[in-house]
Amino acid sequence: MTRVEPWRVTTRPTPPSPIGESVPRRDGVAKVTGAARYATDMAVPGMAWAKVLRSPYPHARIRSIDTSAAKALPGVIAVVTAEDLKARGDINLYYGHALTDHPILADGVVRYSGEAVAGVVAEDELTAYEAAQAILVDYEPLTVVVDVEGALGSGAPVIHEKEAKQGFHRGFDEDIQRDHPNVCSTAVQKFGDIDAAFAGAHLVLEGEYRYPNSYAYAMEPYNSMAEWRHGGLTVWTSCQHPFMVRDDVSHVFNLALANMRVIAPYVGGGYGSKSYTKIEPLTAALALVAGRPVKLVLSIDESILTTRGDGARVRIKTAFEADGRIRGRQAEILLNTGAYAENSPLVARKSANRISGPYRIPALDITCRAIYTNTAPASSFRGFGAPQGVLPGESQIDEAAERLGIDPIEIRRRNVVAPGEAPWPKVRGLDADLQADLSLVAEALDWASTPQPSHARGIAISASDAGSEPVSTALIRIHVDGSATATIGTSEIGQGSATVMAQIVAAELGIPLENVSLLQSDTAAVAYDRSTGASRSTTIVGLALQDAARDARAQLREWAGEVWSAESIEEARGGLVVGGVHRGWGEIVGAYFAGDFGEVVGRGRVRKVGATKQMPPFWEVGCVGVEVHVDEETGQIRVDKLVTVGDVGCAINPQLVESQDLGAAIMGFGMALTEELIYTDEGTLLNGNIVEYRVPRASDMPEYIGIIAERGDGVGIYGAKGGGEGSLNPVAAAIANAVRRAAGIRLREAPFTPERVWLAIRERDAAK
């Protein structure tokens, strides 16, 4: 399908060049020539290969493990079980930043099919694989539970007998309540008089919705390589948050942070699935035992078993006035978190926050619980709890519109918060203009015209409290020739940070882009950054870079004053005007050090003070419209047209913004139509591979209009704020709303597979 030129709506002031310019991606040449190196491409001398033996049982006690046959195979260097690691005394077997409930290798019990039971290190990968198959494990199967209903039911097996310790990343404390042994965490979002809201309502809608267990499918599988040297550990890994992995792994091995180095080269896709620690502790433990550098590359099938996205069952109730205004909303969200907590406590928190949408709602009563089950662990995934809630929430807005005879866009207009207005108490006011965004989508979809038969249009909107913790640092070194090197902890996961951050440095120093270089994601070499996620980097790290540039310029101003003892010093592009003479940054550096050498180091930081004090640092809104066609014979839905609005405040690089929005929306499209990990009741994953877990293909693409709205309303530099998730969150709801209008059916369970559509059509026809 075709693509229409992006629409750009700009009311912000003009930023300095090259901000706002679609400069070519700086990783472009490396990526089109095959020169870009990913963790999978890394090797060090003396490196051995590892493979993992995984449990075929979803829940079982391990009676015994016999590794003798595996150890006897030629080429095998080490065979490692949890017992071996515990016996050493220098490794903490359990890790997890939220809850330390996750053993590096199964510790006497396996909690999902695919859990790592033993690791093998060998001279080559095939030998390691064959040795892993030669390990004999005696399992005693236990009762299995794969869904949230089952896990909370009476007689459900208890998945974690022991209460796990809190992880070192605080912030979930209040959410870690376990009113049932299989509850991992509970997040509550409550205000207003909910009973009164429902009691006086003109219309109350109630429904149950389901969102699938999903898989992010970053095309680069989880993989890492670990090397111990002089008591220190270096890990090369495909991860989004190198500093958090550093912190996690240092706890496992009781290492000082200074002795622990994490390097994340180009990352082959993340989408949240590579946030936090995955196989790094195992790889490092195997390297320690083997006494060799070790490389562990999972297959995609194993990656699916390592981290997936949380499925959800949502019971939701919304009360409306006759004019469509929302009086209150109540919801119970149950997330299928799988066998280990990973980051699901935070997903639960965000899901509870995000289900109410960008609306003025007087009363809210939301509970979201992350539930342990005997399935692969779920964790962060792009959208982060939002799509699970936006599908039900936005479906009910449309349902109300239909029941009350109000146009779907109009009903949203009556409820969205105005710019600056906070959707709930004690949070930042909305830094976006959704009224205007709705108009843009309506125009792009030609909302007022009548679509062809079996076609219909739908829209949905969302708001996410984004940005994560606003904690980042950055360094900028300006060299004697006037060029600059910036170091940041942000990973280049494809989002374009290598390009955008360089643009920011060039603009802030007023130097040509080609004179800026960037060093990223090596914890031993770059300045601290909390994470690469929650759409935060451009905003938060951008501010840190701006601060570093300011710091460098201030120092140079001082130096210039000293060197030229001038009365007047003025800021100018690329340097200072000192006593009427333009002095470039490099010239000042050289003059200060009295030679052709030296440099200035600018230090920048962002923390929870000043502009970034109030949480969230920014809102990420989503506003999506679609036109769909429903084939009533086969039940197939075809999305003919897709419209997104990137409401990003200031598009540092518009091409990259559009690229993020389209990519995000198509990921949402996959989740809406085809993507679902399907478990049997016995705990077997039926489609744990890319043949049967279907992600969108080129031939599925709709016509696309990407709108970029720049109103300078973000907290970031030049009014920027984050993007890249907002356009995913409303997609399933927009499609469901369009299908309702096309075929008269209300789809409440994603993905909307042909069979589910067909069943709904049959039900519709039976009711006639």
Binding site: E125, L126, Y129, E130, Q133, E633, T634, G635, Q636, T674, I678, L686, N687, V691, E692, R694, T753, P754, E755, W758, L759
Partner: protein
């Protein structure tokens, strides 16, 4: 990971059988390897020796049989070679259309029709179509050569009538008779078809005189469904005609009695329904080809 094995690379059929005899039977033929290497990689099969068939000239090429003009496709001809073959485009356009949508371009470049049939994957596109086309395969072993009709050849999911030491040397498809149309349609939601239907019709004097229908991905192997096909016989050869509509409705009702297997694409009920939808689309395509061959 693909386990270790020894490789033999015969340059003729005779050498191929010698290579086989040099093993203790722990061997497998392979050509494109798209099926067999995959299952070996997944740990589902393992062979001491793999015998490469790609260097055997006798297994190559597409030709028309001297006598009846049947289409003869060599055992190591790739999907892609069929997709771009002028002969196939003229004789059996439905096969070109089908091949153009098998898996992806890489699998079509590497994989062979013969391999696909020998693997007997229950969702095989070609097997379903060739069944309705009354095709047969030629098997050759030390003991001689035999021709086996497709419906005799595929004996179960991943099972065929081929002996391990026999080679599929050719697939033979009878030529279209006058007034005959052959078509294949599928519904596909993932990599493999959810359900597929092939139909061969012969039109005489404006009515359907003969019909053969096969369905794939519905039961555990692609099967001919004679009672479904019979519903079309006697109907007018015109998609708009009432008798055709009745025949189709009848055929769909009979499909409803099939013992379908539910899978990731849907329940048995849904799959039977889909088969009916696809049957209608295939029948209309076959009618138009029949008209062109009248």
């Amino acid at each position: 990971m693909i386990p270790r094995f020894a490789l033999a690379r015969p340059a003729s059929l005779a050498e191929a059988f010698d290579a086989w005899d040099a093993t203790d039977g722990d061997a497998s033929w392979y050509a494109g390897g798209t099926e067999i290497l995959q299952v070996m990689k997944m740990g589902l099969a393992r062979f001491g020796t793999m015998i490469d068939l790609k260097r055997i000239p006798e297994l190559r090429g597409i030709s028309l049989a001297a006598g009846d003009g049947a289409l003869v496709i060599g055992g190591s001809v790739t999907h892609r070679e069929i997709e771009v073959s002028q002969d196939v485009a003229r004789e059996l356009p439905g096969l070109v259309a089908l091949e153009a949508h098998v898996a992806n371009i890489r699998v079509r470049n590497q994989g062979t029709l013969g391999g696909n049939l020998c693997f007997a994957e229950p969702h095989s596109d070609p097997a379903t179509f060739l069944l309705a086309c009354d095709a047969r395969v030629r098997l050759q072993g030390r003991g001689g050569t035999r021709d086996v009709a497709i419906d005799q050849f595929i004996t179960g999911p991943l099972e065929t009538a081929r002996e391990a030491d026999e080679l599929l040397t050719a697939v033979i498809i009878p030529p279209a008779r006058s007034g005959e149309g052959r078509a294949y349609e599928k519904a596909k939601f993932r990599e493999r078809p959810a359900v597929s239907v092939a139909i061969r019709l012969r039109v005489q004097g404006g009515a359907i005189a003969e019909a053969y229908v096969s369905v794939g991905s519905l039961t555990d192997i692609p099967v001919l469904v004679p009672d479904v096909a019979a519903a079309f016989v006697g109907a007018q050869a015109d998609a708009a005609a009432g008798t055709f509509g009745e025949a189709l409705a009848q055929a769909r009702a009979r499909l409803g009695h099939l013992d379908a297997i539910g899978d990731l694409d849907g329940s048995p009920d849904f799959k039977r329904h889909l088969a009916g939808v696809v049957l209608g689309r295939a029948a209309i395509a076959a009618l138009s080809e029949a008209a062109a061959r009248a």
